[in-house]
């Protein structure tokens, strides 16, 4: 990975948080909670709409490639998703239009006895809703190993 990619910020992109996607996601993680399906139930819980499950927004980060491309990874089969973090500032609900912006926080190196030289990149995505409120920050840590990690 290119250490010079650190501190780069990328153009913002927009996406819609749809009710059908929330339900599909809740089904896929086997969560039967009516809050993800029934607007009346969600309203009773104090939400302005059907809320996004806590890990949903990661879903919108696979397609935008600018930050990942800036890391100039030689072989993605050596890349491990080490860690994923979310900070929540306000609820995201169905119907929201979010604007996301990626920033590469850091690219660092570490020596590991098990996997050789490691390079560790942290990509941070900040999400604002259609009212300009910051709703979430997602941080993913990508690790490039010097050799393939076996079990």
């Amino acid at each position: 990975m290119d250490p010079n990619a650190a501190d780069k910020t990328f153009p913002p992109y927009e996406f819609h948080v749809e009710r059908g996607k929330i339900r599909e996601f809740a089904d896929a993680i086997g969560d039967p909670n009516p809050v993800y399906r029934d607007p009346a139930y969600a309203a009773k819980q104090g939400f302005a709409g059907i809320p996004a499950p806590p890990t949903l927004l990661r879903t919108f980060l696979y397609e935008p490639r600018a930050a990942a491309d800036a890391l100039a990874v030689k072989d993605w089969s050596y890349i491990v998703h080490g860690e994923q973090e979310f900070e929540y500032f306000a609820p995201t609900v169905a119907g929201d239009v979010l604007t996301a912006q990626d920033r590469i926080v850091s690219v660092t190196e570490k020596e590991s006895r098990r996997a050789g030289k490691l390079q560790i990149a942290v990509i941070e995505t900040t999400f604002h809703n259609q009212r300009g409120e910051k709703v979430q920050i997602a941080r993913r840590t990508l690790v490039e190993t010097g050799k393939r990690i076996s079990e």
Binding site: E24, A28, N33, P53, P54, E83, F86, Y88
Partner: protein, 142 residues
């Protein structure tokens, strides 16, 4: 979805919800999560590719196990209660595995007028091996 949710007053360090058991997991569940989450890394849905890549089969997405643990936390502490969630990926999991998700309170504090609880959680397979580990902070009603 528990009706007897803990409040900031009633919850204590060491408290834990009933474990959430997921599985035995199927390839269909991995494919369903691939579609729902847009994670189309072929190691998770294309057995031919995964095996040629040195894996014994397709393996589950760490974020799928993360979704299971997030569900454990929201069922326990309440929808919308999470302030922060961090998932660390520890090892792979496979079709047929049974994951047990557990969590516990490791601290309780007040900040910015909110009653916060800090938790640790993990999902382990049927051999007791951690698949993911993580920590979270939730704001509880008083």
């Amino acid at each position: 979805m528990t009706t007897n949710r803990p409040t900031f007053e009633t919850i204590n360090t060491g408290d834990a919800p009933l474990p959430l058991v997921c599985g035995p997991l199927t390839r269909t569940q991995f494919v369903r999560y691939a579609g729902a989450s847009h994670d189309f890394n072929p190691n998770h849905h294309d057995e031919v590719y995964a095996v040629a890549n040195g894996n014994k089969a397709v393996f589950g997405m760490g974020m799928l196990a993360g979704g299971y643990c997030a569900r454990l936390l929201t069922d326990w502490l309440g929808d919308g209660s999470l302030q922060r969630l961090r998932i660390r990926f520890a090892s792979r999991f496979w079709p047929g595995d049974v994951l047990t998700c557990t969590a516990r309170v490791v601290g309780k504090r007040e900040a910015d007028g909110k009653g916060l609880v800090d938790c640790e959680f993990s999902a382990v397979n049927q051999d007791g091996r951690a698949v993911i580990r993580g920590d979270a902070t939730a704001a509880l009603r008083r």
